[in-house]
């Protein structure tokens, strides 16, 4: 494998590096302690601020999945034995994950094959050197989880790159509305939008993640529970609690801005289409 840049000499290695080197079993792939030290230094420099303490650095290093990190880096370096280990350990899991993401066999195989090419490094950098995606694995999570995440990213990119094809029959059936541009309407009461924004700002990040996943993304309780690694009932309870809290805050905010209680209730019943909502435009604008 190609030499990893190291900034430390052997004498400057922290004592725990030797322990980490043993844990990583890097000697199987011909990885030296110096190479591992260089990898660890690179990772800590990536995730920690420049002024991070030695304790923070050590904590980060110890939290890494060293054995998988070494395997990935050895694969990226072209070590055949490492590839043999990688394929034996992750091949079936990779295809299973691709099948779960693509939900269609041929697409899943195409997705997994495409990722294999990227992992092996079919693309070459300007200098002609192979660039393997595995070199970007840092061991923060499991290698399998990282592979799933990369697969998901590849799948999303693939879906986005596909032109949106609409059959002629579909266009005809859709009629004039199909081509109609979304109406840009003004809010019935600007205070409502302002109050909702304020109420959302008062919620915590995790509450907003819950609300966004539930209301905006339309995810199921099971999906949200998987994301947050909690039980579905917990998600359900928290969403109910957050919704109730938001409603109270919004009503209170509207009343603070001069609305009567009844007017605030009526404002809450406004047709959402009358609000200034342009999801597609927002997404396009964000991508641009």
């Amino acid at each position: 494998m190609h030499e990893t840049r190291t900034a430390l000499t052997a004498l400057e290695y922290p004592p725990y590096f030797t322990e980490l080197y043993v844990q990583s079993r890097g000697q199987r792939f011909g990885l030296t302690l110096g190479q591992l030290a260089g990898i660890l230094q690179e990772i800590s420099g990536r995730y920690l601020p420049p002024g991070a303490s030695a304790a923070e650095v050590a904590e980060l290093h110890r939290s890494l999945r060293l054995e998988e990190l070494v395997l990935a880096r050895a694969c990226a370096g072209g070590n055949e034995y490492a590839w043999e280990c990688f394929l034996g350990r992750y091949r079936s899991k990779l295809f299973a994950a691709a099948a779960a993401i693509a939900k269609e066999d041929s697409a899943a195989r195409e997705l997994a094959d495409g990722l294999y090419a990227d992992l092996f490094g079919m693309r070459r950098a300007n200098g002609g050197e192979r660039v393997s995606k595995l070199a970007s694995y840092t061991g923060r999570g499991s290698l399998e989880g990282w592979l799933r995440m990369v697969l998901a990213q590849e799948w999303v990119n693939h879906q986005r790159s596909r032109p949106r094809l609409v059959s002629f029959e579909e266009r005809c059936e859709a009629g004039a509305q199909f081509e109609a541009k979304p109406d840009v309407v003004t809010a019935v009461d600007a205070r409502l939008e302002l109050v909702v924004d304020e109420a959302l700002a008062e919620t915590s990040d995790e509450e907003r993640l819950l609300v966004a996943s539930w209301y905006l993304d339309g995810r199921t309780l099971a999906e949200i529970a998987r994301i947050l690694d909690v039980h579905e009932s917990t998600v359900s309870r928290r969403i109910d609690r957050i919704t109730t809290s938001l409603r109270k805050r919004i009503l209170r905010g509207l009343q603070k801005r001069g609305m009567s209680a009844r007017a605030a209730e009526e404002a809450m019943e406004v047709d959402v289409r009358d609000l200034l909502v342009d999801v597609r435009g927002r997404l396009q604008g964000k991508r641009a």
């Binding site: 840092t138 923060r140 990282w146 994301i227 919004i250 959402v272």
Partner: protein, 381 residues
Amino acid sequence: MAEMRDIVRSRLARKTSGISAHPDANLLAAFTESALAERERAGVVAHLAECADCRELVALASGAADAEPVVGARIASTGFRNWFREYRWIVSSAMACCVVAAVLVHYGEPPARVSFVSVSSKLAEPRIGDSLKTVPATPVPPAVAHKRKVEAVPSDKTQPPVVMASKKSVALDLLTQPPPAQPPPETALRVSRLEPPQADTNFPLSLVEPERAAAAPLSQSPRPAAAKQFGEQAALAGRAPSFAPRLQAAGPTSLRPVASDARILWSINASPDTVGKLRGVVERSRDAGQSWEAVPLSERVSFRAVATLGSDVWAGGSAAVLFHSADGGSRWAEIKIADENGSVSSDIVKIEVRGPHRLTVTTASGEVWISVDDGKHWARE
């Protein structure tokens, strides 16, 4: 709360601009595995709350994680609990199967269980009055017939081994009798037994020749499935080293030990070729019912009943025809059933051998004819 959903959704959708840099796949993967420090996790959660794209990635990857167990952080949770959760339906099915099997073993029994066992000849000679009993043949409910089972278990090697006779086979005989109008009301199916007779008072029993039975082995009465046809009667005969019969299953058939080791079973239309045919054919099996051979007695007669006692074999059927063989079926002679007042005209539907030289024949019209000299002379009962 419906309006809350729409309002919040609309405002959240507007907040997708101005989000921070996307965390890399390593951090997102670590987030899904709860492997991030609290500070980093908070940063990822804050980003996910604003970034629909990353939420989509995390949701896709998390959904794919369920396809297989995750290596690493979650591998610790792939213990017995996850194994049971994944395969609990198999465990439940297996338990249900075990319960059903236990119930079947306890309350059911195979359709025709037969065992031929040779035993010692030291068995004491049974006495007629000890255990033989005759009752009229009344239809026995299948459930009752299933439960009936007589067995004799030897206490040691010098005693007879287990001899089991499935009474279900007899019950099948009962059930496969001709319709009630055809057989006479006093039609009796026979089973002889040496064990306490009071245990099965409802079960059809018949007399057996104890002297000869004590000196001869018992053959069980396998009831091949092919023999379970309406209007059929089966006769079973067997040979084995000398031992006393514990039970002789009967029905329309009689079970008789003979003097040699060769076991011969007699039946009507028991082979697959003749089962279900209207014309009854006398058949015998020399291999415990595995295969059957037709005994060509008469082409014009449809046989309805066969009975044996020792080497004597009796077969009767249509037109009051009765055949007798005194040598185990090698040579046959047609017997005329008649007395001074007349002869039998209807079909013979039942033959009962009640002892040496003693024979009872029942016709379809309900007549019962008795002979006490091996069919030489007959008298209407």
